[in-house]
Symmetry: C2
Subunit: 296 residues, 2 copies
DNA sequence: CGACGTCCATGCCCTCAGGTTATTGATGCG
DNA sequence: CGCATCAATAACCTGAGGGCATGGACGTCG
């Protein structure tokens, strides 16, 4: 008896939401399509998985049994997939490097260049991650190494080497009164609306909102963005201000956005991370070495 | 990224056979269909899994990586499937009982009747297994309990309670000279062709060929059968003789087939088996109790 | 009490995945 | 050289799986 992992994902979504309509939205399919799939799954197993009512879809006892076991299937497949891809990229002499926007900025290019010289046969695949994934794909096994802002959630499970740290500056709409000053005080920013990363990024988001350093004053969110482009646009349009590493002033300059140093703000660290499973891999070690050389 | 488990089964088959044509036969699909599926899988992963040549399909390094991981996905799904079905049948008050043909014979009905009386709300689903599966589906989680001939392969991993034992008789074509005797000597059977179970049944097959008791004299196979009907037909048609439990003489009588006791042959045991996971289940315990009561 | 909102199910349509048979190419072998 | 062996391709058919629009059951609220 065969299933598609898609069917299992559909099932878990409905099980979690308890509601076809919402699950369908979450899965980006239409509700009738989902209805059909769930019925098909039930028919496939010969087991009723849900009891339908106007209040939604409730798991039956066998449904709960499947809901408990489905994740193990999905995660087994995830492991198989990322494992296979990892081996494939290795045997094609490709190093997959993830980075979050504004992580290493201009250092990135120097690192890649140094690595290319050290390992002439190898190609580097650079993949920019959205801010929603602070591990830049490393946690999912999508990349072999990543250039990241420190600290980041899940850091404990990975090997990390800090590279350098930079002052946190502020990016302001050029028309903003504070843009006229050479240096801004953190205290002056406390009541400004901020352009922030999506809420699911947790500690990462908080760090760039200076949540720890605003003495309990709640932050006002002016806009939420996932990528540098939206971010710059939001600031230029006056939706709010945002903290950014000093190098962003050079790397992400744009008319309408002004960067200024901030007094009284701790710096931000940049590091390189890789999976403990690859810790002995000579190519990874070379890459890390390049990072350390070029960053100091 | 989603896959169908079918695709993974196809992949493993090709990986094992190293040959599309043979793998296609084994999977009961056409060779072009399999070609397409394998290419689709490669495309899906963005990874070349095989190198094609006149000698067949050889795994690449990433292919080997997937071949190592695919079984874990398939077995996770197998567990999820049989686990869910088990819970479903329990919550529908159905006890799934497997049996191999001629295991308990007439005792079976008495057992079921006793169980129905003890657990009036419950229904028993009887499932006859082919001789190719001596655990009658118990090993695969397809049934909750099974009535079996002992010993059987995989017995160590299950809970087993022996019920009774029976003499092994011989089933002969009625026209066979030995059918004229009241009792047959094992020695007289040694050079006869036998009707046997399929080779993959291993020890089971050997036991019913009396391999251990023919003093190294090789057995001659006259026919191979999987089900009682073929078996009786093969014997009646004179393709060979076969050992059978005494009760088969009553339970599987047919014109053209004569049963006779055999001197000098050890008896055959019958038992009930269930999964250790269900050992504390009161319903299973009741069923086992019924078996013990009715068999003694 | 009737209008509306919320959910799931149904009907109809379209596209493409996945299967079939027949055939073509490539390549080693007697 | 002709044959056997494998994989790939072509042409075709069926049905799975998606979308939209709508129906039906049932609370809820003005």
């Amino acid at each position: 008896m065969d299933v598609d992992t898609r069917l299992l994902r559909y099932f878990t979504a409905v099980a979690e939401e308890g509601n076809l309509t919402r699950a369908a939205e979450r899965l980006y399919v239409s509700q009738p399509a989902l209805t059909k799939q769930i019925r098909r799954l039930e028919q496939l197993l010969g087991v009723q998985l849900f009891t339908r009512s106007r209040t939604g879809m409730a798991l039956t006892e066998p449904g709960r049994a499947l809901a408990e076991r489905a994740p193990s299937v999905l995660s087994a497949w995830d492991r198989a997939l990322s494992g296979t891809r990892a081996v494939a990229s290795r045997s094609a002499r490709v190093l997959r490097v993830g980075f979050v926007a504004s992580a290493a900025n201009e250092a990135t290019q120097a690192i890649i260049a140094a690595f290319s010289e050290l390992r002439p046969g190898w190609r580097v695949d650079l993949r920019q991650a959205s801010w929603a994934d602070p591990s830049a794909g490393l946690a999912d096994g999508v990349v072999d190494a990543a250039l990241l802002r420190l600290p980041f959630p899940g850091q404990a499970k990975l090997c990390v080497e800090p590279l350098f740290s930079e002052a946190r500056w502020v990016a302001l709409p050029s028309a903003h009164p504070l843009a006229a000053r050479e240096v801004v005080d953190l205290a002056d920013l406390r009541d400004e609306p901020f352009v922030a990363a999506p809420p699911e990024t947790g500690a990462w988001r908080d760090f760039w909102l200076a949540s720890d350093e605003r003495q309990g004053r709640p932050v006002r969110i002016g806009a939420v963005t996932e990528h540098p482009d939206d971010w710059l646009t939001a600031i230029a349009n006056g939706y709010g201000v945002a903290l950014a590493p000093e190098s962003a002033a050079r790397f992400y300059s744009r008319p309408g956005v002004t960067y200024r140093p901030v007094r009284g703000l701790s710096p931000s660290g940049v590091g390189v991370a890789w999976s403990p499973a690859d810790d002995t891999d000579p190519v990874i070690r070379d890459f890390v070495r390049c990072c350390l050389e070029r960053a100091s």
